[in-house]
Amino acid sequence: MQPSSPPSDSFPDRLRAAREYRGLSQGQLAEKAGLQPSAISHFETGARKPSFDNLRLLADTLDVTTDYLLGRVAEFKALAGADTLHRHYNALQDADRKFADDLITHLASKASKKR
């Protein structure tokens, strides 16, 4: 099976789609999100890569999920699975997995309350 395009490659297109759906210009979105005016055009051309903080700010401003902007789900408000980012992934012990699972449950309940 041919792998689909990497999620990070989808970000410029997803950002543009969500922005246009909300009827915002690049400048208007930048202003609403508190980013520099040129940031959105850099994101949409792929010249600049977003941080998680940028993704969250843009997602909240556009009322979509970061999962949508990352190309992990097809609908604006849908959620994909959780991410955990840390060193030595293979060395993650059971106790860490359990702790991460509890955090994920906590965050998921926060996320669902907001929707």
Binding site: D83, R87, L107
Partner: protein, 291 residues
Amino acid sequence: MKSTANHYAHGALAAEQLVKSWGLALPIDPFAIAAEFKITVAAKPASHPGVSGMLVRVGNEFAIAYATHIDNEPFQRFSVAHELGHYFLPGHPEAVFDARGIHESRAQFTSKDRYEMEADGFAAGLLMPRHLFFPALERAGQGLAAVESLADLCKTSLHATAIRLAQCTRDPAAIVVSSGSRIDHCFMSEVLKAVNGIDWLHKREAVPRSTPTFTFNQDAENVRRATRIEDTSNLQDWFGGRRRIAIDEDVIGLGTYGKTLTVLYNINMPEPEEEEDEAALVESWTPRFRR
């Protein structure tokens, strides 16, 4: 492809820009920054070591978990600052995914270390931003005493602070971290790196036998009990070359970390002209014989 050092510097710079834009003062509180950005911070139970920290995302919600098995505030602050690096640094969302978006495969991501180096640099730059660290360094003096006073000011470990000092100082200085007879790593200040006719110290090299650090490391109790000494040694003993210049050497055991921190400073390199004058003088003394 950027080198490892550049990834670190890139991360540090990004953090320093944020600290400036937020107008923060020392000590920087990574817990307060997380709270400001509505990132849940959770202490992992001290009962198991596991990973030092992790960043977790569900939808638009984020959390940082940090290890507490090492009962040391500076270590925990650094762990949280490192995870904030993953949150604030551009491009890090990519580190979570492999080319097919399956996150279990991430461990095979080839440039994964790049993100870790960037996050380490971010942590150092966040807790010890150059624009605040440098003026404090100017006031702190030299040697281990300076490292200690800066660590106290920044609430950072002696180890992390010493590395930052070597990166920021305008003096010729070096810090060496060793275990037993081996050098784990060495950071030389930019000025010292620029000195001609000396060798750079490297990882896994032996601690030179004639130095106070070598003698110190002969007794493991010195390390465990965090013994502290102020001594002198010689530029040539550490860095080779032809100049025997007396330098100061402060040494401290890093306790349960099991390593020794050495600060080499007060390295008064002669000016190039002085060396030339000296060479000319030696030349004038050297008897000449007719062929």
